[in-house]
Amino acid sequence: MMLDPRITGRIQYAQDQHMPGMLHARILRSPYAHARIVSINTAAVPRDVVCLTRDDVTDLEPLYGPMVKDQPVVARERVLHVGDSVVAVAAPTLREAEAALEAVEVEYEEMTGVFDPVEAAGDSSPVLHESLDYPPDLRPDGRNVCHRFRLQSGLGEDGFAGADVVMEEAFSIAGAAHVPMEPHATLAYWEGGRLHVITGTQTPFNVRRDLAALFRLPEERVRVVVAPMGGSFGAKTFMRLEAVTAALARKSGRPVRAVLTRAEEFVTLNRHPARFRIRLGAKRDGTFVAKSVDAWWDTGAYADCGPSVCTKGGYAAIGPYRIPNVTVDSRCVYTNHPPAGAFRGYAATQGVWASERMTDLMANRLQMDPLELRLQNLLRDGDRFATGEILQDVRFADCLRAAAEMVEWGSDRKNKGLAVMLKGMQTPSRTGVALDIDAGGRVVVRSATTDMGQRPEPTQRALASQALGLPMEDIVVGPNDTDLVPFDTRTTSSRSTFMMSNAIREAAAELRRRIADRLEVASEDLVLDGEGAGVRGTPGRRVALSDLAGLRAEGSFATPGGLDPDTGQGVASSHWHQSAAAAEVTVDSETGVTTIKRLHTSVYAGQVVDRPGAELQNEGSTIFGIGTALLEAIEFADGQVTNGNLSDYEIPSILDVPDFTYDFVEGGQHAHGLGEMAVPVVPAAIGNAVAAAGYRMLDLPMTAERIVDARPAR
């Protein structure tokens, strides 16, 4: 049996890429959260080590960023977070590069830092970014607020007047680290007047666009080759190491490879710490009347995709409910923490925690069954969500009922909790896929979908196989190289299977048309199978696919949409992710240690294309949820990460994970994304279960100490 190269260890990640003459890069990082750079002295750095400082990039665009251009290649006048890049070096060996860092002298003048988003928005805080160019779809709002998303539906706040019961509560969610097992790694070189980058990234076309803009090149002069990643979960999105390695490669005239250390991983990109204030108004019979969501997102020193996180998390906190009067005010704020960005669960994790804990608080107040309260208010087919969209293909109740049943909710509710969610998928977005026939007669799938462990290849081949009518063995996936694949927005947001399935279907139809044309028959009469191309009713007419080598067809699929940032109205998501979870726990009342006895997620999967892959993704995201619920928080002290290693920051081990279960709700026309669906509902369900055990938890993570400090309610 052919063993997958992941099992033998022969798979090549970005860090395994070598080129002759390659230099190894390391980055000198700021020890201060906020400081002015007084001077940089590289005189003591050995001659054969290439040094990159702010003086070496004055001919480039000064700043880059996926939504706001606010980040320099290396720091200019100020450093804005502990770990901010100040100087980069490239040397023949890693050891020499490390030694070179010690030869660089930087003088800083420390400044006051701000580490809380509410405080950062206040009048007395230092301003972290001056005169940025905000794109028109963002709403910067006063000091350090780079984006403010607001939504109002119905009567907004005035809607509370119609409620019999109004509750208000504050929730918080700690920042978290992605902890991909493989660190960030990038190799860059210049050749033939073009910039080539081999990198582990989920967003090749974003990287290409941003590198081109930074180096003032047309996009065709930048090539991004995507290496398979040893995990990413959002960490390897947008520009990370690509800019600095490209700049070092440019200066040195040699290929340069950078690989982050584990400590650096904790100051590169994290999950947004967030705070919510939720107000919920309901009638005595449980009908939701009004809800207001007030949210603050700590996006750190650079916005990255924070504005989008802030928007998505803002409306995720509304929940999958019929609520006629909704207000959302969600702010993305700069602080002197390391930057925060995309993270598996993408803002829904934070929003769903606040929203679903609040739902249970209301159920308790009304003395209603939390399942019944939810079922009564859940959105149904044809209902309007608070963004104004009409929802179709709604399965919230199916998922919730399935989950509740698996923990025998009907028998008793002791120590059990539920959660149900809706999460948006990146909208608008666009995916192109090409299919061409190679000299060997195989159909090659050209797709920019990146592999970070979800292994899209079987899915891509299965989709092409289904659409063309060819066996899987005749289909291969081509290299992920922006020179060779059509544009795809990015591999995030659990969008790829859904988007690809549509694009591949169109490409396949077009390829069939072209093959039919070549055979001079109508498309309907074309037969494609393991023996090649044939004509219906004419057994003699057969053409091997290898004789059709070079034929190529493209298909694309786009989902338009977007939300008005001031009113929150529009199309948030062309396609909604839907899932639910149920948990049963026991809590040791003397130590706070929580054991998960039962955990079940029910996810709307639609058409399952690659079942083992689907199972792995859901299992993986469930385990992520357990980590978020009970274990994970980045600890900061004055901007310094204090638990930046894998002994202090713990992710779930095999013994931390119970024998959990799950089901896929299948059916409908589409293949739905699965990569993230369990992440937001699992912590909320566990939190509701812990609350049912008598501990009123409002903050994540629910560590044993925090639980034991929240005395059982009488």
Partner: protein, 153 residues
């Protein structure tokens, strides 16, 4: 410093500084299945077998490995029961931690041919998988154990 070892039953001369780890030396010698994640021995990604026992190669100073028999997954036979079980059960996602798990499982089954589920999980507990393949990994090890038992019967 030149350090004589055997890797996957072949004599190999590792070139290393005295203050470099076995992990770095093995990678320099081309064994890229051995990787760095945590650098402090807690994640198991760098696991190799030394004289049949799982060891964190990131914690071994290369000279200390002199004369030892080292096993990495590059040396796995195509029909290795643990590797085949991982393949069939699809007990991996990104693959970065997989060699560590495979070697740990092989060592477990060599020592405990008929492990209970609890024994499997305890033996694997020191290997972290962020992608979350734990359920399938347990299944794969159980499958490999069952097959090895049937074979030896």
């Amino acid at each position: 410093m030149k350090i004589q070892v055997r890797v996957n039953k072949l004599p190999i001369e590792l070139v290393s500084r005295t203050d470099e780890t076995l992990l770095a030396a093995l990678r320099r010698a081309g064994f890229q299945s051995v990787r760095l994640t945590c650098g402090i021995g807690v994640c198991g990604v760098c696991t190799v077998l030394i004289d049949g026992s799982p060891i964190s190669s990131c914690l071994v100073l290369a000279p200390a490995a002199a004369g030892r028999e080292i096993t990495t997954t590059e040396g796995l036979a195509d029909d290795d029961p643990v590797a085949v079980a991982f393949q069939e059960v699809s007990a991996f996602q990104c693959g970065y931690c997989t060699p560590g798990f495979v070697l740990t499982a092989r060592a477990l089954l060599a020592e405990t041919p008929n492990p209970s589920d609890l024994e499997i999980r305890h033996a694997m507990a020191g290997n972290l998988c962020r992608c979350g393949s734990y359920l399938k990994i347990t299944k794969a090890v159980r499958l490999a154990a069952t097959r090895s038992r049937l074979d030896s019967n």
